[in-house]
Amino acid sequence: MELHQMGVAELSAGLRNKDFSAVELSSTLLQRLRQAQDNLNACITISEESALEQARAADQRRAQGDSAPLLGVPLAHKDIFCTRGQRTTCGSKMLAEFVSPYDATVVQRFQKAGMVSLGKLNMDEFAMGSSNETSFFGAVRNPWDLTRVPGGSSGGSAAALAARLLPAATGTDTGGSIRQPAAFCGVTGLKPTYGRVSRYGMIAFASSLDQGGPMARSAADCALLMDVMAGHDALDSTSHPQAAGRFSAALGRSVKGLRIGVPEEFFGEGLDPEVAQVVQEAIQWYVRQGAEIRPVHLPNNVHAVSTYYVLAPAEASSNLSRFDGIRYSHRSGSSVDLQELYLQSRYEGFGPEVRRRILVGSYVLSAGYYDAYYRKAQQLRALIREDFRRAFAEVDVIMGPTTPTPAFALGAKSADPVAMYLADIYTIAVNLAGIPALSLPCGFSKAGLPIGLQIMGNYFADELILGLGDAYQRDSDWHQQVPGWEEQ
């Protein structure tokens, strides 16, 4: 197998056996990343020099007897994670020139583990989008079909993994931003329980929903990444004291006796029949292994999208206030006074989708509307959380599709925000509740597009759902299918 086709576990073994060096490995992948830019545009920054420096350091550590499991394994970070001394853009003109003075906790943890960061991955601007088309640095293309979107907002991460440019990447998930692109690109991504992965240094979109997570080509690889990235962080007040776990050690579990909830709300109107069929077949695999299916109801899921599009913009409108043109963000050259400097810098620096959400968010928080929108949305959020609480009293996990359709065409929804928002109809409730969910490939449409199975777990059941994804992947090869983008 060629280096770029190997996953995290295989690379880890290869490096340990000294089949190849970290420098060789990183050089190979850096070259692929560069070559793929024209077709896929998955990266915003490729940091050749610092990557090779880190790779050399990893080789040195190994020569000195260090055997950290991920030592020398490459990855790249979604450009939402601050990286010291490197440009961190969040996919926006606003931060196009921003060089972070500090590392995000997640970046620091991977660095400590000896992983080599190859660069920064493309994303929807400030993680606001479901197609990666809102990026200031241009859309990312889906390696399975270059005329289609990779999903978003972690579209660069998913596309790079699918295209075998990288074995591992970080993503963030506020309403589906890890799972939806993972499903669209045929890779595996975990949105962890809220509070398991530090948000420090991860540029905030909607703080109460944002959660960083691993993306890779298998659940087992995601578990290896979680071993490093999860854990309590004193710099993040919402980080859970018991956030750490032995994720990879919890793999290899039996499916026998597992109670799977399949909510009818996830199989109703709007779901592509092809997706429905492929997902049902995947669920049947678990049944054949001894799991049982129980019907569960998530009656308030119908409110998830509208609840989300009140709460997320509300938090975003405030989180994005710091981009004011005063310190480090884009400053308009044409302003004559302070008021003008704010207006012009923010108008020029933010793209239309970000501006739309800031407007919506400011509106729902404003005097006279707070109760009707923000407070009501919080009440609905509590109901949605309650739906899951009730469901998890009956079942161990909930399964359904990650997305209602496979990847759609570039430009297909960019003029219709509501159609775009509905692409996240099955992923959003998970963020509102704060529970973990995994998306893994479970088949293809007739057009050859990947379809994702979503496994949702109760709070802190991250290990369980990774284990269930891993069990499926030990008996299937959907996740090993390689897109033909290089021939397109």
């Binding site: 939402i80 994670f81 601050c82 961190t88 969040c90 931060l95 921003f98 972070s100 003075p101 500090y102 995000a104 948000r199 420090y200 240094g201 991860m202 540029i203 905030a204 909607a206 703080s207 109460s208 004193a234 710099l235 993040d236 007040s237 919402t238 509300a314 938090e315 409108s317 405030s318 994005l320 206030s321 710091r322 981009f323 004011d324 005063i326 310190r327 480090y328 302070l338 704010y342 400011s362 928080l365 404003s366 005097a367 707070y370 923000y374």
Partner: protein
Amino acid sequence: MSMAWEVVIGLEVHVQLNTRTKIFCACSTAFGAEPNAHTCPVCLAMPGALPVLNEAAVDKAIAFGLAIGAELNHRSVFARKNYFYPDLPKGYQISQYEIPIVGRGHLDVLLPDGMEKRINITRAHLEEDAGKSLHEAYAGESGIDLNRAGTPLLEIVSEPDMRSAVEAVAYLKKLHALVRYLDISDGNMQEGSFRCDANVSLRRPGEPFGTRAEIKNLNSFRFLEKAIGYEILRQQDILEAGGKVVQETRLFDANQGETRSMRSKEEANDYRYFPDPDLLPLQLEEERIERVRAALPELPDARKARFIEQYGLPTYDAAVLTAAQELADYYEIVATDQDAKLAANWVMGELLGALNKAGLEIESCPVVAEELRQLLTRIADQTISGKIAKEIFEILFAEGGSVDAIIDARGLRQITDSSAIVAMIDEIIQKNPQQAADYRAGKEKLFGFFVGQVMKASQGKANPDQVNALLRERLQAQ
């Protein structure tokens, strides 16, 4: 000719808490460093940076709540107050809105007429301070210094319970003394550690509250008094001309001694408050509150009660002496093994008078307490008279030094040698035969004249009791 207006005043006081580090990051709160020396990704509001609450600030807020007998909210919530300003790096201030840490409490305030008045406190909440814009020294541009950004503040909001500038000043002074007693703030008004906004309105007694103006930027007791005074006249003029007071924010201009409109209610920001999702609700455990309670120092009211009890002082004296911790400490040193009432008279009379005349606070008093105590010792052991003591005090205040050294150097020791006093008396009687004869003929009032002459002759050093006794004896004898 105006009918009586009643002024209604409520104060909002921002107290900088004297924690070592900022409220949401580990940067130093020290004053006076190079601009932006005390900053980090959190207080610079770098992308992705997150706040972590400084527990020491919470303990100080708890201490304040306990000291004003307030209800403490066992669950309070940090909220974001959103507005744009260059010295507000996040574009929002983290504050507390719907549920503050400290609920209703009160402060009993001593007024200059000796009466006490209870001022109710609506709430006190934790929040972060903003940075500073620097307009000088940057030709045509403004500089931003974020050293102060993130310094913990306790905002203390009173009820509109004050009815005069004098009451407002008395309340503010008591509050100032309290935060220093509690050691939760250095109270330095020049450096902005203790800042006050005043809500002022007028009404006819018994009628509902009038429309208020909020006056900002009151960083001294004197400014508060002047600003309220100005505002009363301004509003009175408007009302008596049949006009309406506009609800607005006004700025006090200390140079002109006037308030000026800053922004009207319509121009006020919609702060779009909402709970800060980066911070969990603040939970106060009972044990924590008790731990803070146990560590509280003796508070002004308790100390006042003790002064009355222990030193037998009148209520008024005890209240004055305990108004500031430093003054109370000073008094207790002076009063050690002395006549407590005499000590109180000296501290409240000579000392406070001299400080007041010199425009000094007790902290910068040139007379150390031990020396004032020594002065009282020397009065008690009759080394000096009370009159000489006042002279010595003036020398101490102006030049410093020690009481005994001054007595010796200037020969101020009291004359208690009876033969020396008799000699002086005899000489004066001899020089004033007519007055002596008149006295003996029954003109008793002339006794005072002789006492004065003797004291003058002794340069005030003759022991007055001895002078009295010996003078009477010598006048009768001849």
